[in-house]
Amino acid sequence: MSDAVVPHRSEDHHAPTGWFKRALDSDIFYSFRRSRLTMVAAAITLTFFLLAIFASWLAVQNPFDPAQLQLINSRIAPLWTADGQSPFLLGTDEQGRDVLSAILYGLRISLAVGIAGVVFAGALGIALGLIAGYFGGVVDSVIMRIADVQLTFPAILIALLVNGVAKSLLGNRLDEMSTLGVLIIAIGLSFWVQYARTVRGSVMVEKNKDYVAAAQLIGLPAPKIMLRHVLPNTMGPILVIATINLALAIITEATLSFLGAGMPDTMPSLGTLIRIGNNYLFAGEWWIVAFPGIALAGLILSINLLGDWLRDALNPKLR
């Protein structure tokens, strides 16, 4: 995949003429260029995942361990500037935390929360969609009514509310790990609707097909039919929704943390790092916020590109 990392810039700035121009505008060239962009995005996404997985080997310190942080090392500029100091490649923040290490560990948190949140949302949505589609009637209309109402509200508002309520219920018992859990639940509750709608639609269609009737005739229990036969049919669209939602979930987590309603300073995610760094922007210490910001933007952009490509490639009937 490394040979795919070719800048695709040359075509963009070219002012083509005649047949050449028309060739550049053609569908085939477009998809080719797009798929090359997709490969770049895939490579970047993969890199981010690897960085997150091997964070503890790559980082010079464990930023979550206060014992490893030394105030002498605080606010050091990146290595290539005049004030840079080894081994702090991207500089340090006010607690003497190495920015690069913090990004690697923060990436881990962001991805973990994002993926777990999407899995939770998917599980919830698929379950509710199956129930709604299979039972129909009152159950269906109650679930779908809730979905309709929730869909009119932005996910971030719901996630904030869930977060606030959880804080109020748990009070002081809320440590880092349970905050992680609360974030996952908040994201899950914010994003289940699309899965539920998709699955419900498929169930409604498949329910009346002959093979389901045949399965019923040979005595397979209905839930088994749903899980074994109907669910696999919806996997394509589900995968697309999940990919696009992963980017959204990461944004949501980062936003919550940025707003101070997510990961605490002692166990920062990318959003938390950006919130901390934002306070030092006016003091000229731009690196504390810039690098986590670039990491977050790059991660989201590449996942979005992957999602777009996946949607076109699988071309399921989404909306």
Binding site: A15, F153, G164, V165, L259, G260, F282, L301
Partner: protein, 326 residues
Amino acid sequence: MLAFTLRRFLQAIGVMLAVGVIAFAMFRFAGDPVNQIVSIDTSAAQRAEIRHSLGLDDPVLVQFGRYFINALQFKFGVSYQFRLPVSSLLAERLPATLELAICATLFAMVAGILMGVYSALRRDTILARLFQAVSLIGISLPTFLIGILLIYLFAVTLGWLPSFGRGEVVKLGWWSTGLLTVSGWKAIIMPAITLGLFQMTLIMRLVRAEMLEVLRTDYIRFARARGLTTRAIHFGHALKNTLVPVITVAGLQFGSVIAFSIITETVFQWPGMGLLFVQAVQNVDIPIMAAYLLMVSLIFVTINLVVDILYTVVDPRLRSPVGRAA
């Protein structure tokens, strides 16, 4: 038409009732109001007394009814943090949020429509491709990062614009406006752009797609065959037909703009309802959270209703029951 409006209206009331139940549940069960009032060493008897005086030992339905009737009169209880009625806190913050949301929406519509029309009419120019790239980034970048970037550029580096607050504010009765002072205008530029950027990309993509669609229609071809000027065709016929769905989307998005202002207000320390809400979440101030939820829901539901009705005004085909004669 009347039946349609009435049905939509009933649906809206249903949604508001559902949200009311959630807000009440939060208010009543998530934050125990007694704990917020008393200190740790208050005796159990005193707690029971306060509980009784607040009506917290009444049946839940009675309490819900009471909460509901109070909410209808915009009485949402007292903020734990500020010890002030939530309604007056919200009312004080409302103008800031509305001004920001309106400016952001106007920015998003003007810029989005211009960019969308341009990239539809001049599809192969470098500028049009630049717009496409910007729209991809605008959809991908989290709002707060854009805000921070703008602050770094225009407040920290260039020093042109203030990085926080509303600037000088003028009181007009109970309404406070920043749009009558120079510092107020300077202060609103960056927050409005930050808040409106996402909607702008949305509108731009929509306008571009719709415009390309409309330019392919027969009535545009016929308009050209009639010898109308390119200007009249593009900006009269095509744009008017493009704007029908755009108005709908922009209108429906206004609620989201208000909700998303939570983030922008935090970045720019904009003294609006969103900032109040974020502080409430951080400090577990349940009455404010519940009231904010109700307020935003009300705005959402109202907008949906208005857009539905407005839609029939813009598109004459939906106005009369005569419909499409063959």
